[in-house]
């Protein structure tokens, strides 16, 4: 007997289904006015920099400090916002689909459960990407304007004090380096990778959690614990030096393998201080983030595949 094939229908591949579900999740979150909150938060965080200009300092020392302050505030706001959105949005989607029974109608179509999970996660990542892009553009614009102001003030100061040209140029170069540039974009990429890891953790928790609140609280707890992951790994690598038994070392190893090392993201602080993060370091960061996202997504699938809905 030949299979019935409705006109115009072709069995969609995994990619098409995942993209369809991702676009749907993105639309759902966008229509929940997530972007309104983001824009407000970004504007408040970045506008606050205008209120904190250190008027008492001379322009030669104030210039870089002002720019560092803007980067610190902006990247801090991005980190907070992206982590909260990553956890809360992911925690919301699957329980809501179960509660509203929309999951029945989706999984009653020829949709593998891994496609559903991957699509939901991708939708959140898309939201984070767009949010961070908007914040990045705003931060870069503010920095650009402020850098130009600082450079002008420094030129005026140097002219008034009669600084030699090479000293003036050195000061201006230092200020420009503290302004917008590629290292800053690398730091924003790191913020995105960290948020992506958090979203995948929230996805895993939401596959067995019974409420959005539980998922959010446990997700943020994992984020907190993740900052001690490196200490756990070091403890294991040092072995006997710590004076503990094999069981303790194994526990430390297990913790290090399954919990992301969020200290890797300290490169963001380095960028704020004006350091240039090597591309290789950024690449390793992206790879490590990718490893955790894939690990947690597969673990989510392992649980969700057996889940009775």
């Amino acid at each position: 007997m030949n299979a019935h094939v409705p006109a115009g229908t072709r069995r969609g591949g995994h990619v098409v289904r995942i993209l369809t579900i991702a676009a749907h999740a993105f639309t759902q979150l966008a229509r929940m006015k997530v972007f309104h909150f983001l824009a407000l938060f970004a504007v408040v965080a970045i506008a606050s920099n205008f209120l904190n200009l250190p008027q008492h300092e001379g322009p030669e020392s104030a210039g870089a400090a002002v720019l560092r302050s803007i980067k610190s505030w902006s990247l801090g706001a991005m980190t907070l916002f992206s982590v909260v959105i990553a956890v809360a949005a992911t925690a919301l989607l699957i329980p809501k689909d179960i509660e509203d029974r929309t999951l029945y109608t989706i999984l009653a179509k020829p949709v593998p459960r891994i496609d559903y999970l991957a699509g939901r996660l991708l939708g959140v990542l898309l939201l984070l990407f767009v949010s961070l892009l908007a914040m990045d553009l705003l931060m870069t614009a503010v920095l650009q304007v402020r850098t130009a102001i600082v450079l002008g003030e420094q030129r005026d100061m140097a002219a008034a004090l009669g600084w030699p040209p090479d000293a003036v140029e050195s000061l201006l170069a230092e200020t420009r380096a503290a302004g917008p540039g590629w290292p800053l974009q690398g730091a924003v990429a790191a913020v995105f990778v960290r948020a992506a890891v958090m979203a995948s953790i929230a996805l895993l928790i939401s596959t067995f959690s019974t409420s959005t609140l539980f998922t959010t609280v446990v997700g943020l707890l994992v984020y907190f614990i993740g900052h001690f992951q490196a200490d756990a790994r070091d403890f294991w690598l040092q072995g006997g030096e710590a004076g503990e038994g094999a069981a303790a070392r194994l526990a430390s190893l297990a913790l290090a393998l399954v919990l992301p090392d969020f200290q890797l993201f300290n490169v963001i602080d380095a960028v704020i201080e004006g350091s240039v993060v090597p591309l290789a370091t950024l690449g390793r960061l992206v790879l490590a983030g990718g490893y955790y996202v894939v690990l947690f997504t597969l673990a989510s699938w392992f649980i969700f595949a057996e889940k009775e809905i």
Binding site: M1, A3, H4, P6, A7, G8, T9, R10, R11, G12, V16, R17, T20, I21, H24, T27, Q28, R31, M32, D100, R101, T102, Y104, T105, I106, L107, A108, K109, P110, V111, P112, E306, E308, I309
Partner: protein, 288 residues
């Protein structure tokens, strides 16, 4: 010649649920077997908690059987490809309220592999079929319960499935909408589409179903062709239009002369409240 593949084949299905409050698992479905041939309208009826929804979920692969098997057109229902040709309308569906009717159908259509012009045409066709053409651009948050049920029916039909599973399709729908859904089920049957219906509304099941299974305590207690199940073997019904008193008297006398025969009931047959409602509110005859 081999038998055609049944649309639905459930064999010795058992489903236990483990709850934290009970030591013994709760058995929702107990050794249930049934077969639905392609093109039939099959009604599964039973009291609350009798296992109807669990049976449907097992058939759709939403829950895994504790033992036994479910097959759709010969494919194991735990496999994703068994759902290629299935449309499902859950009881009291709550679709994504942020989407419009058109967006909802496009979303489900894409999940089923529909694209481009074929998808656009299908969405227009389905909105027309369920009478939501004018409401297609509105978000579902503004839909009434009946409209939600109709958009749910449309999404179930989006990929032109050969099997449609309907869980309480007229729950919360007014009599006009309910009649529309009934007519749609009959239209699906005329097109050769198999319908597996689960409902509390026995009158509705009686109107549309060819076969019926009665579920109680997770077990099928009666099953068969509807006509066979509900006809009273030793009685015959004759309905006569414009019968005068003398004709009724003669028939009564004739029956009295026949050994063993007796008149059980006579009088004017009544219309149904549903038919009266439809004639009053829509001006159309409610149908048979």
């Amino acid at each position: 010649m081999s038998e055609p593949v049944p649309a639905v084949e459930i064999r010795h299905l058992v489903k236990d649920f483990h709850t934290s409050f009970r030591r013994r698992p709760l058995r929702a479905v107990d050794d249930l077997s049934l077969t639905i041939r392609a093109g039939e309208v099959y009604g599964l009826i039973g009291p609350n908690g009798s296992g109807k929804s669990t049976t449907m979920k097992a058939l759709l692969g939403l829950v895994a059987p504790t033992s036994g098997s479910c097959r759709i057109f010969g494919k194991d229902s735990l496999k994703v490809d068994s759902r290629d040709e299935v449309g499902f309308l859950p009881e009291n569906p709550y679709f994504h309220k942020h989407l419009t009717g058109v967006e909802t159908l496009r979303f489900y259509g894409r999940l089923c592999g529909l694209r481009g012009r074929a998808l656009d045409d299908r969405v227009v066709e389905l909105l027309d079929l369920v009478g939501l053409t004018d409401a297609g651009g509105r978000r579902l948050a503004g839909y009434s319960k009946g409209m939600l049920q109709r958009i749910g029916l449309a999404q179930a039909l989006v990929q032109e499935p050969r099997l449609v599973i309907l869980d309480e399709p007229t729950a919360g729908v007014d009599p006009v909408g309910s009649r529309g859904i009934r007519d749609l089920i009959l239209a699906l049957r005329d097109r050769g589409i198999t319908v597996f219906l689960c409902s509390h509304l026995l009158e509705q099941v009686q109107e549309v179903c060819d076969h019926v299974g009665i579920l109680c305590g997770g077990r099928i207690v009666r099953e068969g062709r509807l006509d066979d199940l509900i006809s009273i073997e030793d009685q015959t019904e004759i309905v006569i239009r414009r019968a005068g008193a003398d004709l009724v008297e003669r028939i009564t006398a004739l029956v009295g002369e026949s050994p063993g025969a007796s008149i059980v009931r006579s009088g004017r047959p009544r219309t149904t409240l549903e038919r009266l409602f439809l004639e009053t509110t829509t001006g159309k005859e409610g149908g048979a």
